[in-house]
Symmetry: C2
Subunit: 286 residues, 2 copies
Amino acid sequence: MFAERLKIAQSGVQAALDAALEFHADLPVVQAMRYALRGGKRFRAFLVLETARLHGIYAAEAMPAAAAVEALHAYSLVHDDLPCMDDDDLRRGQPTVHVKWDEATAVLAGDGLQALAFELCCDTALGSRRLELVQALARASGAEGMVLGQALDIAAETAGAPLSLDEITRLQMAKTGALIEFSATAGAILAGADTIPLARYAKALGLAFQIADDILDASGDPAKVGKAVGKDRAANKATFVSHLGLKGAKARARALVDEAQSALAIYGMKADTLRDAARYVIERDV
Amino acid sequence: MFAERLKIAQSGVQAALDAALEFHADLPVVQAMRYALRGGKRFRAFLVLETARLHGIYAAEAMPAAAAVEALHAYSLVHDDLPCMDDDDLRRGQPTVHVKWDEATAVLAGDGLQALAFELCCDTALGSRRLELVQALARASGAEGMVLGQALDIAAETAGAPLSLDEITRLQMAKTGALIEFSATAGAILAGADTIPLARYAKALGLAFQIADDILDASGDPAKVGKAVGKDRAANKATFVSHLGLKGAKARARALVDEAQSALAIYGMKADTLRDAARYVIERDV
């Protein structure tokens, strides 16, 4: 079921994002926004739609929020790839935005994608809960979420001493974890239901996801991964793999998947697809 | 009254912004966010509070929206000043964020300020109208507002041929006009009232504001203006002044102020402070 539902998320979200950017098609910034929004696994959108379904909410009702989270994710990638940040030339096997256009266009396209995320999120159905959802998205995005994580990452690069395992965990919980937690709790927020079990699920899942990323960087095939690998070791960067070793990192990721799955106990069989999703994040080789 | 009410906006908004950034004070990105938020005329915040008052809404109820608009404005300045954009070293007489810190910190601080703007806007009182307000803010910020204006500005620089007066008008209506229009209609949005008269007021005011900026760049004193002047002429950039001449630009600005003031007719004397504000934008010498 997971693979099928991920595909539903992919096509639904692509249609929503295409519709949202039908204006000013002649402008390089808008072209760059569309380019940054193409492809991607749409795993965060899947989490929004799947936790919405878990709470009896139509996919159509949650689709703007699912598109919003992908727009926010896309913005973070465009800015992270900038020369003054991670300085990456490739993303999903294609030139990054600042390589294909220029830095100014990349800064602006990212800025526009963040604004688009909030505009989309406001379009979510279920009027009375939308504001809570927008507020949660803003918190996941800002200086207590993604921006905090990226700031800690930059601070670590200039600090000299490698990060401890606790520090890496804190960094990643903000950098990638906050948006995954938003995505996985979106359904509960929209339904006015308890978000705690899904937040637990998301926290474990987000860390497992990041450990899997570190494992891919340490041992993945660049042709499959679609971006440069071995960057962490070349930069002498502390990662889950540098602390735990490849075998230890894999064991930690498996334990986190178990933890994520057990957080779903109260939902019974209805949460099986989310359980499969948790296993997927450490089994993917791309 | 205008000067007193601008001061009220200044102190109220500063308190709201300080309270919003009381976390992670040790992080350079958060320090840079605070730095970018200091000072400024707070003219946009004043417009939010004054149009809220016009519709019988307490300043305290509209304050988060007033703070939000200043956070969004601050983010746009930090990113506009970047080397890949306008490459400015001075802002309000002080080093710009990327000069005082570095480019990565400036990109992230701007990103964090945009997220903060949406978070603050969600905090506005008057529950049922907040979502419309957030949506209007997202539209003013994104690829149909500020980002569009900045994109047109960059496109103009690389195009070779100078912009026509109509093209400059379109560019400025997006780049600075959209956020001024948001600010001036915020009170009506929160009250569920007609936004058309205030939108007319804001459109004329926003253009007058930009013409005054062009006049300052052409003839202002850099010590008073707090940033470099004469940049437009040095860059051979088409502006209202290059098209209309200094005298013609001043006449156009005055005509726009008349237009802005006449749009307020239906509010009677209650809108006198907004009328004064319109005159202020072309009389300020800083």
